[in-house]
Subunit: 298 residues, 2 copies
Amino acid sequence: MHSLQELLEPEFLSKKTTIAVVSAEDHHVLEALKLAVSNNIVIPILIGNSIKIRKISEEISFDISDFELIDIQDNAEAASFGVNIVKTSKANVLMKGLISTGTLMKAVLHNHSGLLKHSLLSHVSVNQIPGYSKLLVVSDAAMNIKPTVDDKIEIIRNAVNVCNKIGIVNPKVALLCPIEYVNKKIESTVDASIITEKWKTGEIPGCIIDGPLALDNAINTDAAILKGIQSSVAGDADVLITHDLDSGNILYKSLNFMANGNSAAIIVGASAPIILTSRSDSAINKLYSIALACKMAN
Amino acid sequence: MHSLQELLEPEFLSKKTTIAVVSAEDHHVLEALKLAVSNNIVIPILIGNSIKIRKISEEISFDISDFELIDIQDNAEAASFGVNIVKTSKANVLMKGLISTGTLMKAVLHNHSGLLKHSLLSHVSVNQIPGYSKLLVVSDAAMNIKPTVDDKIEIIRNAVNVCNKIGIVNPKVALLCPIEYVNKKIESTVDASIITEKWKTGEIPGCIIDGPLALDNAINTDAAILKGIQSSVAGDADVLITHDLDSGNILYKSLNFMANGNSAAIIVGASAPIILTSRSDSAINKLYSIALACKMAN
């Protein structure tokens, strides 16, 4: 896949995906679903305050008469219900509506009734930026606050899974740091060198990893050459792994709000993909996120 | 000041600034100085390997016959000499050439012979980005690894000083975090709320501070409104303060390498501004950095 637009092409998704929308009584979410339905991507199951869902749908001319509408007004109950229909495969994607992320994730992370599968949940975004020649996957911008080395390896695995689903084989993964060499005072550089060593022993297959790399050496060939960096990742990264939530969130938002980028973003690592769009995401980015989740579930 | 181009306008700098260049035997640094000399900004004092300096200058057609050339081949000695002529006001700006940042800073930070003035040294960049309506100051992208709350207040003071020198009065300072509310598990949000409270008591004058703010709410009015954030900083920040070096470096490099931005960057907090250009900086950004340092020294 070379552009996010391809996510919307009919041949890309083999069939419509059923998507459980928790607390669907939200203007932005229903607008995004309307767009996804008109693109023949999804069949939503709308869970939440049915009166409000009907009212908003009418306001935005979204005909929901063909879709299941489950009236559950309590957010926690709506979340449990949504998680359960995904767990029993009645739906294949979970989407957050007008509910706090915490309440939704509590249901997802529940020991018995949740969607865990012994892997870490992480936020993965696929970004298309005018200033870069190919799609760029960034993780983690929204889930893990201060991942350990082992957490970072899971974050990489999740990102590589997303890459493979969208046709990026053996992705080049850059471990982002402020500098391109190890400085023991800078934790990210120490972590990066440990992970790169583990990759060299074959512990993290399916990708090429290098780090520590600074952002300029990771995505700009000239910058990598000027620094004398010899690496097949440097200057040509497919995946950027950030040290923590502070740096990941800034990178993701900078690409979207400063570099004029578009993005599809989902939570992966559970037994089904989860969509947590933010109100400030553009309509097209919300649609891309839904399409990416459906591709992951296919 | 509304654009970096203004840094080069004759009326902006009242006179040429003398600049001590440590280990000047570097192609990129001499190219930048040639440009600065042709723009009537600086009078360089070139310290380092005089044979190499002459050779490179000839290669790039940079006539250095009018400038002082001090032959000191040892880097540490060249650094001490450079710092000393700044300390004694023979030069007003210090610039790094082909010498490690560590060796140069050791001379700058020396207790007796250095350039300390009881304030924290920090990296301040002034960025011009096509996607933002005004100049955007970012700190700290290159000096402080994990600043404490007190360090961050010094970083803000240094950034405000730079703002004032370039005509940004009472700048709006956003304390960047991954989210716009306090979460005790996310250290940056706790620090931001402490600093905002201190600002409210009048402890940090000359600016308007708000945080925690996420990058989207700090620089995008629509995103701030959608999140219901009421603040004169949100959506209209002049200064972005990042939590640590990882996040600051990524933001700065993202603006330069992804968002098609230009920037002027210097180290402030010593008794004179210090220029540490990187090889991967573009020629025009190196010139802007020199011009900004000269403005700070004026």
